[in-house]
């Protein structure tokens, strides 16, 4: 009963781990071959990368003043985009919640639309909006609004589905309209969730909007593209540092606020 058993052969030689390593390696090599990824080119590219990296170690500090406005624009884009998207998400989330809308046709249609919106990649949206409304922050705002809408509406209807149904009953019994029931019995229960999702999406959008600029959708990303195009890696360094600071500051603030909301 109490004697320690001998390790089996497989256990002794870690057969499982070896087999898995072999499988992963084989898959890696096979997919490199199939997609035509040349690992060698990546290694020679590494030299070039080191070259750029050296240049970036000597940032052009005189460029800093030129980055202020685009950075503010990036934050503004993220803020407006998140705000517009999340406000539009509220009625959709209410209509998608199982405990509020019992009509399966309405709820099914709304959920289908929400699922569809969430499948759209944000970079594709940005490319389309740049084509439609032209280069500039408007394209960025629209992209972020749609992305935020898709994300918040789902998080939000899931939150609504966990609320206490008691107040809904109380308001209905008092002769409230459907809208009043939602406004007075549903939304106060999920208000903190909403703020928390808003901040979380805002964080993601600040990060995303730095990239969107690269596609011509406004903000700091445009400077990134310009400096790289001009081989001014000393300026690229400034843009990268600025982006980094903004993202860290926004993340920290938003995290602290969200913790307080709990």
């Amino acid at each position: 009963m109490n004697t320690i058993p001998k390790k089996s052969f497989a256990q002794k030689w870690h057969i499982k781990a070896l087999v898995w390593t072999a499988i992963v390696l084989a898959l890696f090599i096979a997919s490199c071959a199939m997609t035509g990824v040349d690992v060698g080119a990546f290694l020679t590219g590494f030299n070039q990368f080191m070259q750029i990296f050296y240049e970036m170690l000597k940032p052009d500090w005189s460029y800093v003043p030129f980055t202020i406005k685009p950075i503010i624009q990036t934050i503004q884009m993220a803020l407006i985009g998140t705000l517009v998207g999340s406000i539009i998400a509220v009625p959709f989330a209410v209509l998608a919640a199982r405990n509020i809308v019992t009509n399966t046709v309405i709820r099914g249609t709304i959920r289908f639309i929400l699922n569809l919106v969430r499948t759209l990649p944000d970079l594709m949206l940005a490319a389309v909006f740049v084509a439609v409304v032209g280069i500039g922050p408007m394209a960025g705002v629209l992209t972020l609004a749609i992305f935020s809408f898709g994300m918040i509406s789902k998080l939000f209807y899931e939150a609504i589905e966990t609320i206490d149904m008691g107040p809904i009953e109380a308001l209905t019994a008092a002769g409230a309209t459907k809208t009043q029931v939602v406004w007075f019995a549903v939304l106060p229960q999920v208000y903190n969730h909403f703020l928390s999702y808003f901040l979380y999406t805002f964080e993601i959008n600040v990060r995303a909007s730095t990239i969107l600029g690269y596609l011509g959708a406004g903000g700091i990303g445009e400077l990134l593209q310009r400096s790289l195009g001009q081989f001014r890696y000393d300026r690229t360094a400034i843009v990268v540092i600025g982006t980094f600071i903004v993202v860290v500051v926004v993340d920290t603030l938003s995290n602290q606020l969200r913790e307080r909301l709990q």
Partner: protein, 258 residues
């Protein structure tokens, strides 16, 4: 039987839940203005179903329910909301919005009197805000007006729920086991509050209770349900001590209460 003006009438009311459970089985019951009716019965007898049929939180399967002479079974939209406005309800779990202030919760009882857009912009009249404070004072909780509802004890929350119900200026007050989650001391406060509304404001009160002794103490009339059927109906003066054995299946009702 004393004569009175009917305010709630159940005529041949049946309720079968979608899963086949019989909630109400051919109920005929007339409640008159000013009565304090206590409905007793085992858990699952249909007490909650009966109350929720009266303000149509549940639809019935057949039969007619008249509130002050007007059918609530066929009422729709605005008409239904106006009938509901006259019927306040309080619940076992209080059903307050816990994150909102006491004042907001009390004003929630008034929304049926306003167009939707006005309430959404928070445009309650000064008179209604004063009334909210006055109703809170009526249940002796005046100093809690600006507290958050979840800071209050269970008994206090139930009294806030009564203040909210009073905002409706109801003719009828339905209470579904209002004291089931309260301790004995707050139980007395809540029951006394209901008794006062009945005597001072003339509101017709219908209360579901588990406890036969409380029923005898507060009711002007006791109605018994068993398996969805109305099996007992007497004015308080006619109630005999052995009466409840039938409602409670011959079991000792004080054990049932525990």
């Amino acid at each position: 039987m004393q004569e009175g003006t009917p305010i709630i009438e159940f005529n041949d009311v049946n309720k079968v839940y979608p899963n086949g459970t019989v909630g109400l089985d051919n109920i005929n019951l007339t409640i008159n203005k000013g009565e304090f009716v206590v409905i007793v019965g085992l858990s699952g007898a249909g007490k909650s179903t009966l109350l929720r049929a009266a303000n149509r939180l549940h639809d019935v399967s057949s039969g007619e329910i008249l509130i002050d002479g007007q059918s609530i079974v066929t009422a729709k939209g605005k008409q239904l909301r106006e009938v509901r406005r006259n019927i306040a309800m309080i619940f076992q779990n209080f059903n307050l919005v816990k994150r909102s202030t006491v004042e907001k919760n009390i004003l929630n009882g008034r929304v049926g009197y306003y167009p939707t857009w006005k309430t959404i912009f928070g445009l309650f009249s000064a008179a209604d805000k004063q009334q909210a404070a006055a109703n809170l004072q009526r249940v002796n909780l005046g100093e809690k007006l600006y507290s958050r509802a979840d800071e209050l004890s269970g008994g206090q929350q139930q009294r806030v729920a009564i203040a909210r119900a009073l905002m409706q200026e109801p003719k009828i007050m339905l209470a579904d086991e209002p004291i089931a989650s309260l301790d004995p001391r707050t139980t007395v406060m809540v029951m006394d509050d209901l008794k006062k509304l009945n005597e001072e404001l003339g509101i017709t009160v219908v209360v579901n209770l588990h406890s036969v002794s409380l029923a005898k103490q507060y009711a002007s009339r006791v109605v018994g349900l068993r398996a969805g059927k109305l099996v007992y109906d007497k004015q308080i003066g006619d109630v005999q001590d052995g009466d409840f054995d039938e409602i409670y299946d011959g079991k000792n009702q004080e054990v049932k209460e525990a």
